[in-house]
Symmetry: C2
Subunit: 190 residues, 2 copies
């Protein structure tokens, strides 16, 4: 019965990426994005609660995927191993989205309001992951800490991946976890 709503949504995301890259976020109006996608401004705001959110829809998919992987992990695994596994599980998802997430990064980094939203989304993701760990019986404080540290590692891995190297995301993840190990080992000193 419904129209092809997914398609419209996708076209608006693409249009937004193009326009934001060309002219910047502030210089692009919601009406322009909608027009390029062949719809009306009103339709834009029916799909996205605000103009910024057109850049952050993928985050929820990642959030759900991580939660699911954590839920299904073997019961005997310690928190860090659970996260390692979860990150490996979402690797294809992240790799498939690189085309979009790379310009997205530049757009966000260039705009304070978008940085604000990004930070908030990150905090929310940390909370979701911490909750998922808690449901495995891990005490809240340790779950929160593991979530924070784990997502820091994931973020670092993605940073490496977006660097000019040709390494795969899986390799970058392995490197990032190794750096964490080195850091923890070195901290034994003081």
């Amino acid at each position: 019965m419904p129209r092809n709503s997914e398609d419209v949504r996708y076209r608006m995301q693409i249009a937004a990426l193009e326009l934001f890259t060309q002219n910047g976020f502030d210089q692009t109006t919601a009406a322009q994005i909608a027009a390029r996608a062949g719809v009306t401004e009103r339709t834009f705001f029916r799909h996205f609660p605000d103009k910024r959110e057109v850049l952050f829809v993928g985050q929820e998919i990642l959030s759900a995927a991580l939660t699911e992987s954590i839920r299904q992990a073997p019961a005997e695994l310690p928190p860090i191993a659970v996260l390692r596994r979860a990150f490996a599980d979402v690797t294809p998802l992240l790799e498939g989205n690189r085309r979009f997430s790379e310009p997205r990064r530049h757009i966000i980094a260039a705009n304070p309001a978008l940085m604000e939203r990004e930070v908030a989304k990150h905090a929310a993701l940390v909370g979701v992951v911490a909750d998922a760990l808690q449901k495995r019986g891990i005490v809240p404080a340790r779950a929160a800490f593991a979530a924070q540290a784990g997502l820091a590692v994931l973020g670092h891995a993605v940073d490496l991946w977006f660097g000019k190297s040709a390494r795969s995301l899986a390799q970058c993840l392995a490197e990032a976890f190794e750096e964490l190990d080195l850091f923890v080992a070195a901290a034994g000193g003081s």
Copy 2:
């Protein structure tokens, strides 16, 4: 030569707190705040870059005070001790602002857009503190970690302080640091 600009700014902050508490953030217009302070909407936006910011001006003072205390701390102190000292230094500042920070908390907690700003400000504060620690010769990774952990302790202390107890902020800080010690000691197990 200038008019009493500080006074106007202060009146707008008070007016905003009152109106936000009474009617909520979204239901209060910038023009209403300005009118209650005896000025124009335009003047409001000359003092605050946006409507939310009227609730976040104190943050910069705290940020500056912390940075200064960290800079002046004895060279031999380890990061956590530096932060402990800095938090003690800003205790009177925080205690003097309790009248405002308490309603502020409720207003912010009730509004997602304000929570977003709060999270961003917190992240910025962590960055500033980490920088200040770095300038004392602490390596970036450890400085960032100490800043994050330290501000978590401070936040927890303030949470305790805002609880229904009659404890002083200094007492709450001591308790929060003790909890950190216990947590670290317990983590020795795994």
